[in-house]
C-alpha cells in the first residue's frame, strides 16, 4: 500500500494541513476499493464517490484525503474528478432529480416535466432547493428511452413520467415517504447511492470474491503495481511516489 498518513476520521493531519474525512470503517472500504486494481490510481473515482458518501459532496478535504492515500497530488485528484458530472463540488440536496433532455425524451414531453419540476421546486434546473432537500438537473440520454420521458432520482429510474407524476414524486419524498422506482427499487439518499457507487465490486478482506491476494499479490509493494499507461511528464516524476 502506498498510504502515507496515519490520521483517522475527523482528525486534522497536522503535517499536511487537512482533515481526514474517513473514519476506520470508511477507511476499510477505501482500502478494499484500492485493492480491486493493479494500480491504485484506478481507485480515484470510486474513492471520490466514497468522499461524497461521507461529506455529501466532494470536499477539498476529501480530495486531499484521497490524494494522500494513493500518493498523488491534490491537483491530480481534482484534474481527474472535475471531468465527471456525477461527482459534485457543491453541497447537494438529499435527492438528486435528473431529467433526461435528449431526443427521445424531448419528443415525448420532457420539457413539460422540466417545467413542472421547476415550478414545484421553485428553481431552474442546475440548482438545489433552499431547504437542501432536492437538487434538480437535466441529464443526457439515460438509456431508458423506452420509458421516455424518463427521469432518475438518485440514479434509480422512473418511466413514462408525466408532469403530474414528477410533482407527486417530489410531494412523497418531501413527506418522508418511501418512493420506489419503476423496477421496484427503494430510492436511496444521495449519501447512500454514493456509497453504493463507491463500493460496487469492492470486497472487504476475507469475504467471498476477495481476489486481491491471488491476482495482485497480497500486500504487494508499490513497485509490483503495474504502471498506468500514460506517457510520463517529467513533472509527474517523484510526486508523492512513496
Amino acid at each position: 500500500m502506498t498510504r502515507r498518513y496515519q490520521a483517522t476520521g475527523g482528525d486534522i493531519d497536522e503535517q499536511n494541513g487537512y482533515r481526514n474525512v474517513f473514519d476506520d470503517e470508511q477507511q476499510a472500504w477505501a482500502d478494499a476499493i484500492v485493492a480491486k486494481y493493479p494500480n491504485p490510481r484506478s481507485a480515484v473515482l470510486p474513492l471520490l464517490f466514497l468522499v461524497q458518501s461521507v461529506e455529501g459532496y466532494v470536499t477539498e478535504d476529501g480530495m486531499r484525503t484521497v490524494a494522500n492515500m494513493i500518493g498523488l497530488t491534490p491537483a491530480q485528484i481534482l484534474a481527474s474528478g472535475s471531468f465527471y458530472t456525477m461527482l459534485k463540488k457543491q453541497p447537494q440536496g438529499e435527492y438528486l432529480i435528473s431529467v433526461c433532455r435528449n431526443i427521445s425524451c424531448t419528443h415525448r414531453g420532457a420539457y413539460d416535466v422540466i417545467q413542472a419540476l421547476s415550478e414545484r421546486l421553485g428553481t431552474d434546473a442546475g440548482n438545489t432547493t433552499a431547504d437542501g432537500r432536492f437538487t434538480f438537473e437535466t441529464a443526457e440520454c439515460l438509456a431508458t428511452c423506452d420509458g421516455a420521458p424518463s427521469i432518475q432520482i438518485n440514479y434509480d429510474d422512473f418511466y413514462d413520467v408525466t408532469p403530474q407524476d414528477a410533482v407527486a414524486l417530489v410531494d412523497k419524498l418531501e413527506r418522508g415517504e418511501e418512493v420506489r422506482s419503476a423496477a421496484g427499487e427503494r430510492v436511496r439518499t444521495v449519501r447512500e447511492i454514493s456509497f453504493e457507487t463507491a463500493t460496487a465490486g469492492a470486497r472487504l478482506p476475507g469475504t467471498a470474491g476477495d481476489h486481491r491476494a491471488r491476482t495482485v499479490g497480497g500486500e504487494a509493494q508499490p513497485s509490483d503495481f503495474l504502471p498506468d499507461s500514460r506517457p510520463k511528464l517529467s513533472h509527474d516524476e517523484g510526486s508523492h511516489s512513496g
Binding site: 465527471y84 458530472t85 463540488k89 431526443i103 438509456a143 438518485n154
Partner: protein, 461 residues
C-alpha cells in the same frame, strides 16, 4: 408479420420475473457455453469459431470480434478483458437492459473472451448512472464466485479468472474505448492516440480486449451452437441477430432482437407502428451519431445502412413523426455533443459550441439567411479533423439535419420563429442543467456568445 428472433434476449423475455438470478440462469442452460469453452475447447478453437462466425462488434464500430482478438499478442502477460458497459449513445438502451436482466449471460461471455485470449482478469466498466444494473451485476459476480464459475480453477480446470466491477462517473466520451481506458486508470476520460491499439497496448499498457456488452452476451450461444448455426441469420457480411432499441413516436418503444438485414419497416411494425397513425418524418437508425433517414425502406445491416448514407452504429432507432421540429432535434443532438465533447481537440470543442449558438438563434427566431451555410462550414471544420470519432459524429448529425431539412431551417429564419412553437423553451439546455464537480470537457464558455450584434471576437474570454 414481422417477428423477433430471440437469442440474446431469450431468457430475459421468457422469465421476466427472475432472469437475472443464478437459479433461473442454471435452469435455462446458463454457463454451458462458458463451461464448454473452458473445459472442452482450446483457446485457438474459440478464436477460430468466433472468427468464422463473422460476429461484428455491437458497440458501434462493427469491427469483427474474432479479428480483433487475433491482434492480441500471445507472449505478453498479463492481458485484460474490458467490457464496455458505458452505454450512452442517445436512443440506445440495449446494454442497460442486458445488464439489468441477464448479467450472468455477460459474465459467461467474458469468461469465453478471456479464455480465448488468455486473460485472467477482466473489468466491467459500468456506466455510473446504471444503479440497478450495477446492483444486479455485483450480485451476479458474487453468485458466480460462489458457484465456482469465477475465481481459482473455474469449472474444475486450471484456468483462473477474476472479474472486477468498475463504475463510471458520468461522461459519454468514456464509451470510446481509449477514453474508457484512461478513465479506468483514474484519469480524465480523454481519447488516446492510436496506434498502439488497445489489443496491443491497452489497460496499464498491457494487451487488452475491449468489447461491448451485447457482443459478449452473444458469445455463450455462439460457442454452444457453433458458427454455422449463428450464420443462419443475417447477411453474409452482417451475420446473426442484433438488438435494436426502438424509441420516439412509436406505440411500443422497447428493445427488439431481429436478424440483421431485417427492414426498418418491419422493425417499425414490431414496435406497434407510429403513434396516432402518423407517418415517420425522420428516423435515426443507429444512435444520435447516425445521419437521418426519411424512409423505412432500408435493410438494417452494416452495409445497407452505409449505402443509404447512414450507419448501423449502436442500433438505437428513433422514429420521429411530422409534429417534430427538426431544428429542435438538431439543436438537442448538437447540445449533447457539445456537452460531452471532452475538450481535448479544438475542432470538436469549439465547433460544437459555436454550432449550438447558431442553432439556438435559429430555433429562437433570430437566425440569419447565411446560418445554414455557416453550420455546414462548421461541419467541414470538424469532420475528419477531430481527434476522435465524437467530433466526426457531431458533424454528421448536424450536417444531415441541415441538409435533409433545410426547408424547415429556412422557414424558421424567414418567419422569425419556430413553426412548431418550440421557440420559447429556452430554459433547458445541456449547459444549463448539469451540476457536476465539472462537466466533461470545457463547458464554462463566455456567456455572451454570438447574438445578433456581437462580433465573434468580442465573445472571446
Amino acid at each position: 408479420m414481422a417477428e423477433e428472433v430471440r437469442v440474446v434476449t431469450k431468457r430475459m423475455r421468457e422469465h421476466t420475473e427472475d432472469s437475472w438470478t443464478l437459479q433461473r440462469v442454471l435452469d435455462t442452460g446458463g454457463y454451458d457455453g462458458a463451461r464448454k469453452a473452458v473445459v472442452e475447447m482450446a483457446p485457438e478453437e474459440l478464436g477460430g469459431e468466433v472468427k468464422s462466425s463473422g460476429l461484428r462488434g455491437r458497440g458501434g464500430a462493427g469491427f469483427p470480434t474474432g479479428v480483433k482478438w487475433s491482434f492480441v499478442p500471445a507472449d505478453v502477460s498479463p492481458k485484460y478483458v474490458v467490457v464496455n458497459h458505458d452505454e450512452g449513445e442517445p436512443g440506445t438502451f440495449k446494454d442497460r437492459e442486458l445488464g439489468e436482466r441477464d448479467p450472468h449471460q455477460l459474465l459467461e461471455g467474458m469468461i469465453i473472451a478471456a479464455r480465448a485470449v488468455g486473460a485472467n482478469k477482466a473489468f466491467i466498466y459500468c456506466r455510473g448512472e446504471f444503479a440497478l444494473g450495477s446492483r444486479r451485476l455485483d450480485q451476479a459476480i458474487r453468485d458466480a464466485y460462489g458457484a465456482g464459475f469465477l475465481g481459482e480453477g473455474i469449472f474444475g480446470s486450471d484456468f483462473d479468472f477474476d472479474i472486477v466491477l468498475h463504475r463510471g462517473a458520468g461522461a459519454y466520451i468514456c464509451g470510446e474505448e481509449s477514453a474508457l481506458l484512461d478513465s479506468l486508470e483514474g484519469f480524465r476520460g480523454q481519447p488516446r492516440l492510436r496506434p498502439p491499439f488497445p489489443a496491443v497496448k491497452g489497460l496499464y499498457g498491457q494487451p487488452t480486449v475491449i468489447n461491448n456488452t451485447e457482443t459478449l452476451s452473444t458469445l455463450p450461444h455462439l460457442i454452444l451452437n457453433g458458427s454455422e448455426w449463428f450464420r443462419q441469420w443475417g447477411t453474409e457480411k452482417s451475420p446473426g441477430t442484433k438488438i435494436f432499441s426502438v424509441s420516439g413516436h412509436v406505440n411500443r418503444p422497447a428493445n427488439y432482437e431481429v436478424p440483421l438485414g431485417t427492414s426498418l419497416a418491419d422493425l417499425l411494425e414490431l414496435a406497434g407502428g407510429m403513434q396516432n397513425g402518423k407517418e415517420p418524418k425522420a428516423i435515426i437508425p443507429g444512435g444520435a451519431s447516425a445521419p437521418l433517414l426519411t424512409s423505412t425502406d432500408v435493410a438494417l445491416d452494416f452495409e445497407s445502412l452505409q449505402e443509404a448514407g447512414s450507419m448501423l452504429g449502436s442500433g438505437g432507432v428513433v422514429f420521429m413523426d411530422e409534429t417534430t421540429c427538426m431544428v429542435r432535434n438538431t439543436l438537442v443532438t448538437t447540445e449533447f455533443f457539445e456537452h460531452e465533447s471532452c475538450g481535448k481537440c479544438t475542432p470538436c470543442r469549439e465547433g460544437t459550441w459555436w454550432a449550438v449558438k447558431v442553432l439556438e438563434r435559429i430555433e429562437h427566431g433570430d437566425g440569419r439567411q447565411e446560418d445554414m451555410d455557416l453550420l455546414l462550414d462548421i461541419c467541414n471544420g470538424m469532420d475528419g479533423r477531430s481527434f476522435c470519432p465524437l467530433g466526426d459524429a457531431a458533424s454528421w448529425a448536424l450536417r444531415s439535419g441541415v441538409k435533409t431539412f433545410r426547408d424547415e431551417f429556412e422557414q424558421h429564419v424567414a418567419e422569425g420563429s419556430c413553426p412548431f412553437g418550440g421557440g420559447e423553451r429556452v430554459h433547458v439546455g445541456a449547459r444549463v442543467g448539469a451540476t457536476g464537480l465539472g462537466e466533461a470537457g470545457i463547458t464554462s464558455q463566455p456567456a455572451a456568445g454570438i447574438d445578433a450584434d456581437s462580433e465573434p471576437e468580442a465573445a472571446q474570454p
